[in-house]
């Protein structure tokens, strides 16, 4: 069978694919994407075209409610013992819709700050990116994590407001004001993981809101650059496995899930993607440098301070979208 995998960059390294193909006889076709595009694609194909997708756990239930693009996970075909139980159950809770579970955890990590400490050690929270001292040399995405991160840094609690759309709109308005004012500071809004790494590496950007993994990877080349957990807390995400409603290769999909959750494979993925997985003992084979960098970025207080994304209620994204559009149009 051919497994058509819709995933993030780095989650399906070529050597893993080669091993999987050799072992199972399936072939794998990878399409890399991000949350919005994954949902958009599946919406356009009405849940067809792909056999396995990996959106973040907070975006699954609402998409399922709106478009019905996933099919429930058949837990009997999953080797549940390979998953860290707490993550498995947390994901299950967040991805339940109409009593059925739609997601399994795979990779987790955080968004925070990646800073060139030699140039911008003063940046310790998201709002510091708007400081005049780094004008023109910062970058972040124009996506919902940025709105949320800035809200926390501004002392607000957006996740708490998820259930109260008016309150949430109030938060969004404040964040919008901040980000519009901050726009002049921004070199460019990045959109891909490698892009922000290039910007930081070349020195064109000295501080950014970005994924932890990018900071650690850069740290290997340039000790000045590293991931910094923001004072107001990093944002924690879990990317999952979901089955598109009209996937044709369920067998291959479950095979893939069970394969990549093996500790040795999980470690290989962590080594390329840079993030840890939900696999039991998945960190055993991870190279020591990465662990060290993880520990340098996250002390226990920082870990406790991670803000994990709760599921996004339907309708919220439309409000966020309008805010993002207005920020993008401002000048």
């Amino acid at each position: 069978e051919t497994l058509r995998l819709l995933t993030w960059g780095g989650y399906a390294p070529d050597d893993v694919i080669a091993m999987f193909e050799a072992e199972t006889g399936h072939t794998v076709e990878v399409t890399t994407s991000n949350n919005e595009e994954m949902i958009a694609k599946l919406r356009a194909t009405n849940g067809g075209g792909f056999d396995l997708a990996q959106p973040s756990q907070d975006r699954i239930a609402s998409a399922q409610e709106e478009f019905g693009i996933y099919k429930p996970i058949d837990m009997s075909r999953v080797d549940a013992a390979q998953f860290i139980p707490s993550m498995l159950s947390a994901t299950a809770t967040n991805t339940t819709f109409d009593g059925e579970i739609f997601g399994l955890p795979h990779v987790w990590g955080t968004s925070g700050l990646v800073v060139n400490t030699a140039e911008a050690s003063q940046v310790v929270d998201y709002t510091d990116l708007c400081d005049a001292s780094v004008a023109g040399d910062v970058s972040y995405r124009l996506k919902r994590p940025t709105l949320i991160g800035f809200a926390y840094a501004m002392g607000l609690d957006p996740f708490a407001a998820y259930s109260d759309l008016d309150a949430y709109q109030g938060i969004l308005d404040q964040v919008e004001e901040t980000l519009v004012a901050c726009k002049a500071n921004v070199k460019t809004y990045w959109s891909g993981g490698d892009e922000i790494k290039n910007l930081l590496r070349s020195g064109e950007v000295v501080a950014a809101m970005a994924w932890d993994t990018g900071g650690w990877q850069l740290n290997a080349d340039n000790a000045d650059i590293t991931f910094v957990a923001p004072a107001s807390g990093a944002l924690g995400w879990i990317d999952t496995f979901v089955l598109p409603s009209r996937g044709r290769a369920d067998d291959a999909a479950y095979d893939w899930i069970n394969f990549v959750m093996r500790p040795d494979i999980a470690a290989m993925i962590t080594n390329t993607a840079g993030n840890f997985t939900a696999a039991v003992d998945g960190d055993a084979g991870v190279n020591a440098d990465l662990k060290a960098r993880y520990q340098a970025s996250f002390d226990q207080a920082a870990i406790d301070n991670i803000k994990w994304y709760p599921p996004v209620p339907a309708g919220l994204e439309a409000m966020e979208g309008a805010t993002l559009d207005r920020i993008s149009a401002a000048n």
């Binding site: 890399t32 194909t45 009405n46 067809g48 075209g49 959109s191 490698d194």
Partner: protein, 283 residues
């Protein structure tokens, strides 16, 4: 301002300088794209880290060369598949259209001709979304009615091919019509007069005459298909053509692999273009 009319040499040299600058402007981006395909660095930018061929033939991360990068090799295959279909369909329909518009007079011809030109002034995005929306609603209706799946009407290669075909056909029609217009109808009559059947005359005389235009239109169609982005992006499913893959890679940060692919593309399309020109010359 023609060679036979004398001009001041200052004017002449200013003009030439401008033309030279212009061609430098044209060549510059392509030149740097090609040059950085050989930079021994993971980033397609300065500083120059030395010459390498790794971005073509490398097998070890991070220096995976084009020929070993699965997604790119597969995307090239997909693009070629799409291009062949698009070119074939566009040329076939374009040839029919050319005969229709050049050889026949009928009511509504003017209107149909304008409709035929319309894809030239519809932005590619809109072609893409309109076909996407229309195909989806047809699929939804059919699926609701029959309970069967109509995957062909969902984003995927078929829609990509149809989407590109929908506007490339206009170009093919124009190119082939232009040549058919130059065809001296008395050649076909001469063939009839010499005993050929109607179809025999078209096959032995008209089609060979059109061949350069047909090949030219085919090459243009292949090139347009290979580079199309706007329409394709809306219609692509799991099999992504090269431009979409490259765009993804570019968005997610680029390595000189992209330069290497681009270099190959430049060489291949230049060769294809030149070949078709040579062919048209030799005719």
């Amino acid at each position: 301002m023609i060679p036979t009319v004398p001009q001041s040499s200052a004017l002449k040299w200013t003009y030439r300088a401008y033309v030279t600058l212009f061609f430098i402007y044209l060549a510059l981006p392509l030149t740097v794209v090609c040059a950085f395909a050989f930079n021994n660095s993971v980033f397609p930018s300065l500083p120059w880290e030395g010459f390498t061929m790794k971005w073509f033939f490398g097998t070890e991360a991070p220096f995976i060369g084009v020929f070993h990068e699965r997604s790119i090799v597969r995307a090239i295959g997909t693009s070629a598949f799409v291009a062949v279909w698009v070119a074939g369909l566009a040329v076939a329909v374009g040839t029919c259209n050319a005969f229709l518009f050049v050889r026949h007079d009928f009511r509504g011809k003017g209107l149909l001709y304008i409709l035929m030109l319309l894809p030239l002034i519809i932005p590619g995005v809109i072609l893409g979304i309109s076909i996407l929306v229309f195909a989806s609603s047809v699929a939804n209706t059919l699926e609701d009615a029959t309970g069967l799946w109509f995957d062909g009407l969902r984003p995927g290669l078929i829609l990509v091919i149809l989407g590109q075909f929908s506007f490339i056909t206009t170009f093919a029609t124009l190119v082939i019509s232009a040549r058919l217009q130059k065809f001296d109808l008395s050649l076909e009559e001469a063939a009839l007069n010499l005993g050929a059947t109607k179809w025999g005359a078209v096959r032995q005389v008209t089609l060979p005459f059109l061949l350069p235009a047909i090949i030219g239109a085919g090459v243009v169609a292949v090139l347009m298909s290979f580079e199309n982005f706007n329409t394709t992006l809306m219609l692509v499913g799991s099999d992504a053509p090269l431009t979409i893959i490259m765009f993804d890679k570019l968005k997610h940060g680029s390595t000189p692999v992209l330069n290497a692919v681009s270099l190959l593309l430049i060489v291949a399309s230049a060769a294809l273009g030149l070949l078709s020109l040579l062919f048209q010359k030799s005719k």
